[in-house]
Assembly symmetry: C2
């Protein structure tokens, strides 16, 4: 596989070398092309979404241009004036470049030119940025990541006006700004440039796009293949193709999770579009079986039905496919594959297109009523460059606000932004989070909260195992919170089948997170109109351990507590933190109960619907009712509830539970329906090394038995168990009777 | 005034007595009229909103009719089967009656007839309902209120089919069901019937509408004027006209607040419509200068911009003008006054019209594009039948999602559903609650939560003074939580002027809530484009007391805490309830700070916008950071935050503060703007018995001074104060320099 990729690269090297620079008057060709300019001009009035996008851009550019050309000497950290000004400059320059092409109004060209000249006059005098906090400092900005982003935008601005500049202006701008700027990002800082990481992708895109914009083949080659770090270095530098090979799994999944995948996509998509415009013979969008298209579709699928990304790992919950990165990605992928009409409905929701050939295609197709509703599907996304480092599984049933979606993370660690959360689950009902992932503890760009950086609580709470809906062993965090250890292994996919809407199943194993403890978690999403109103999620965690351990199984539900069948005792006058470390120090103990029944129920209400969690409990089990917010000296955490099933001093054991989505409470008519679950009991009726069987008892008196094979996940295997009076026979890795 | 009303009533009595019952074949005339039936049939296809309303009704009626005619012997309490069945029966009967008129399909008529016959056969055998928990028990239901509602609906159903029944069917239904049913509600239970209360309105409407439906004038007169409670009783019984005189203030405000006003409106509107259809000469909609129209418009104005009612007093927060009561009210008032085109936009939002003449008018006008956007206004709503029992003030600036709205309650107690919350405020930004009123502690119809009734925490928390954004004296609740005492007085309006959008002011005094303590609260809503982005609310509470007291001023903010300028100390491992009683037992103390500066700031983030509360503080003041949820043994309360300014052992004092709405945090671009307030300082620069002046310092260096007259609220008074070097001269009750 590896070798194959090198061969592919070699072919690309040859073909790339054959392309010769153009010598005639430069026309825009990087993202916006001369051909698109002509078409946009003639068709703009007939394409409302494009028209709105141009109006929006015009408004934004005009507003900022009122402030004149400001190129301050770099001084401030992220969020400060010079940082924000240089950021806004590249955005406005790019916009003004596009508007120069579309309108021919000189003020746009002059603005970009004056700005670039001002930069060219300042740039050679700049040393490293005075705020030296980054492993990779920049010059205009405190970190070179922002520097690369600046160049990705600025190269587009330059591409739009360079054909209309005087020779001496071009020379000044290229020799004093663009070339040294690109060199700084590549040959002068090869370690960052060659790094397989989204920072490296931005740098490659910046350098490669500048190469196209100024007809510099060497730059383009650096962008493709990285730079050599010395004569003795036998390693091929990284570069764009390696990034394409290594940063996405074969399913297009990016290991840090969808929040960062969204961010990483933009330089990929822009550079790929630039390559496609300038070296169409490379068929870059076909590379690695269309990996970029897969990456975009994976990002879109990893959202709740309101478009917000599933917030596992470090992630802010409000981020969605409305982000500009996805506007670019959706348009560009649609232009590459116009058969995918579902992308058009997302573009409609975004209500914006990028102003270039791709955006034009989308605008035309929308106007032609070609849009189809986007379909969220049950899918498994493998992790790792080869797809062998676990996966993220997503099961969905129903649709729209009646869609139930359960997600399990059984992937690799996800690098520095990963959480210690193997086998964690999330549950959505429509766009509502029912069992939540906390996401990251961070208020991006909010100066009050540690300058907008990750909060200390991101480490002490959000990354810890107890912060997730997964089993905690001995009150400790997976891998003893050791990232290096965690990075070495991943969970193992066991079953994934989302084909039968009545019974969808996923199962995975985690053998390394806790030494001496092997875990397998199986989720079944069941729809059955005869028994249940919406759906039931069956949740079985089988734990194998030879020694005794303490187990905590948290469910971080969102909503208002309604009821529990246990005789719980709430803390009424004084409450205490649940523990000292590993995240436990952040939970207030609100109350607890002994599991006196073999079923422990918790009912909550969220946005007009009821949810019942039924856990099978054993003598000695406890149920803890907790709320987040202890040891939070700056009141930064969200004070949300959880329920924790605690089983102490036990070797191998199995946790069987189910969550039913049911009923409603209307906000205005105040009518309440089906506030009691149809499912009444969950019982593990058979549990050996080979098989686990869980019986579901319904209010109707009907029973169902769900059986999982723990040792054979083939579709062909024939199985048989005797369970009391009942004999069950089936083929494949699971069955429902 | 009283005498005048009796004369008016007398005139009505005479004119009512002159109307003679019709003797020809009965046509519907109660709410739906024969004329409307013809028009609806011919125009339905051209009126989409009416069409959707008929479709919705047809679907609902058909679905319920599938279950057949079920008239169970009454047994269950609210929420139980027989309760719900009898409730659904009246809804479906009324719908089926309407559909019989519109479609002529016999099955609808037969359904209503069979149902009524079944009731007629059962009713004479019924004693009081077995669940005897009400001061006014019913027969079908546990309380006679539901009984009256049953008859309001059923009289309409009967009106729709009675012209098509056999004589013997009519006789059976009237003599065994409708007449004894109406008698039970009136002459047999005169105390409830004569009560000035919304229960009395339902009873009057039920009896009066039945009177029209069966041509029984005596019933109509009982409904109008109440029933005599004995020969020696000199009092005129209450009845509908007394209810119209006494339940609404001259501004149309209902003393229990908008949540219950909404509920109370339905019988008023239906009965008034029935009167207008049957005795148009009474001009019922003109009665008391159009009090019903005023009541409906007041209800609509007492909402946030998403239509939800301001939740002061006992109120559920999700209730809005989408409720069926308001669908009726909006349609009927529009038909009475078709010049009010703003009502049409609300009808459009409701997306439903009632199926009768009024709904037809609305549907036609909507179809004719006559709708105008509803305008929320700054208004003061007087309380009490004569308008002399205080008021509720509402100031608004901006519009839509950029509207800031501040509400102050300086009204009477609001009967049994009132809270001890004089001078409390609420702040909205768009539809977002920024300073909240908790509303009621109740989950209506949710069996898990005390059967859906008011929770114990409604009394122990929601009604208490500390639960509101108003001053608490000596940790006690206003009027020592004594309803009788509270009912005797009301707050006193002092200033209300919402005319100048740049400076709107309201002020009120409360002299009785705490013995020995007189309070005046003044709110100014200031818009000033030069200094502030959205608006600033200035909040001044002037307290006069000769003895020392402890004062707590809570602000129940909603949102995520961002920052405070004080050196606060959070409780990290253990936290305790703030007190033992008067609501304090429900607050966890999260942290506290000594007011070491003369300004105490709290910043929070709600739905992408920042809010800064700046309170002037004095040496010795404390700031408490609290969270609701202590002493909540069933986890019923919402765990929301508050900040409390505490000033101990002080006689007269003044609390000056301001809340600024500013900045933004975009959910997707993550761009943060203006996270710091423009207002930086609030200082009381002058404070005597006669005048209070508060200086506002802005970031720009500019200063403003807001002056209030505490003893002269005339518009004409000339005033002058010397404040340091500055002399201020003005005319009227307040000024801004």
């Amino acid at each position: 596989m590896r070798i194959l990729n090198y061969i592919v690269i070699l072919v690309f090297v040859l073909s790339a070398s054959c392309s010769s620079p153009k010598n005639k008057k430069h026309q825009p060709s990087l993202i916006l092309t001369a051909g698109a300019v002509d078409q946009i001009k003639s068709e703009l009035n007939n394409l409302p979404i494009l028209q709105r996008s141009v109006s929006k851009l015009t408004h934004e550019v005009n507003e900022d241009m009122k402030l004149g050309v400001n190129v301050p000497v770099p001084k401030d950290p992220a969020g400060g004036y010079t940082h924000n000004r240089h950021k806004q400059n590249y955005i406005t320059m790019k916009g003004a470049g596009v508007l120069w092409q579309l309108t021919g109004e000189l003020r746009y060209k002059d603005y970009v030119r004056d700005m670039l000249v001002a930069y060219a006059e300042m740039y050679p005098s700049l040393g490293f940025h005075p705020v030296q906090k980054s492993y990779a400092p920049g010059k205009l900005f405190w970190q070179s990541l922002n520097e690369a982003v600046w160049l990705v935008y600025t190269s587009q601005a330059y591409d739009c006006i360079s054909g209309d500049l005087l020779e001496e202006e071009r020379t000044l701008i290229e020799s004093q700004l663009l070339i040294p700027f690109a060199n700084f990002l590549s040959i002068e800082t090869p370690k960052v440039f060659n790094r397989v990481h989204n920072h490296g992708v931005w740098a490659a895109a910046a350098v490669g796009m500048t190469g196209f914009a100024i007809n510099n083949n060497e730059m383009v080659e650096h962008a493709y293949y990285g730079v050599s770090t010395g004569p003795k270095d036998e390693k091929v530098g990284a570069g764009f193709f390696t990034q394409l090979d290594q940063l996405f799994s074969p399913d297009g999944y990016y290991t840090e999770g969808p929040y960062y995948q969204r961010y990483a996509l933009l330089p990929y998509m822009l550079f790929a579009q630039a390559i496609d415009n300038n070296q169409p013979e490379l068929n870059i969008f076909e590379y690695r079986e269309g990996i970029l298209k897969k990456a975009v579709l994976a990002t879109l699928q990893l959202t709740s039905t309101d478009g917000r990304f599933f917030p596992f790992n470090d992630a802010l919950k409000s981020m969605s496919y409305m982000a500009t990165e996805l506007v670019h990605a959706v348009d560009i992928v649609y232009a590459v594959d116009p058969s995918n009409k579902e992308l058009l409905s997302i573009a409609q929701e975004q209500d914006e297109v990028i102003i270039c050939d791709a955006g034009l295609d989308v605008a035309k197709a929308i106007n032609n009523n070609e849009a189809k509703a986007f379909k969220w599907q049950s899918l498994e996304f493998s992790d790792g460059p080869k797809g062998d480092q676990g996966a993220v599984g997503v099961l969905r049933s129903g649709s729209g606000k009646d869609e139930q979606c359960v997600i399990m993370k059984y992937a690799s660690q996800g690098m520095g932004h990963g959480h210690f959360d193997r086998l964690t689950i999330q549950l959505y009902d429509g766009a509502n989070e029912i069992l939540q992932d906390y996401g990251a503890a961070r208020y991006v760009n909010v100066e009050y909260k540690h300058g907008g950086r990750y909060l200390p609580e991101n480490k002490t709470w959000a990354k810890q195992t107890i912060a997730h809906n997964t089993l905690v062993v001995d009150n400790n965090t997976q891998f003893d919170t050791n990232l290096k250890k965690a990075t070495k292994t991943s969970s193992e996919p066991w079953i994934f089948n989302g084909d039968d809407v009545k019974l969808q199943v996923m199962s995975a194993k985690e053998l390394n997170a806790y030494s001496g403890v092997e875990m397998q978690r199986t989720l079944a999403l069941i729809q059955d109109e005869e028994e249940i109103e919406h759906s039931v999620v069956v949740d079985v965690i089988k734990v194998a351990a030879s020694e005794n351990h303490d187990y905590d199984l948290p469910y971080h539900y969102l909503g208002q507590f309604m009821d529990s069948n246990l005789d719980y005792k709430a803390e009424v006058d004084v409450k205490k933190a649940l523990g000292q470390d590993n995240g436990y120090q952040h939970l207030w103990l609100d109350g607890e109960a002994s599991a006196t029944e073999d079923q422990s129920k918790v009912v909550w209400l969220n946005n007009g619907r009821f949810y019942t969690l039924i856990s099978e409990t054993k003598e000695g089990d406890q149920v803890l009712y907790t709320r987040l917010g202890a040891n939070d000296p700056e009141f930064s955490l969200r004070n949300e509830p959880s329920v924790i099933l605690r089983r102490k001093n036990t070797p191998s054991t199995t946790f069987s539970a189910a969550i039913e989505v049911h009923g409603s409470k209307h906000p205005v008519t105040e009518i309440v329906e089906n506030l009691k679950s149809n499912l009444v009991k969950v019982t593990t009726v058979y549990d050996t090394k080979d098989y686990t069987a869980v019986q579901l008892d319904f209010n109707s008196g009907h029973k169902k038995v769900f059986v999982i094979c723990n040792q054979d996940n083939s579709m062909e295997g024939q199985h048989e168990i005797q369970c009391g009076d009942q004999q069950y026979k089936w083929q494949g890795a699971y069955a429902l009777f």
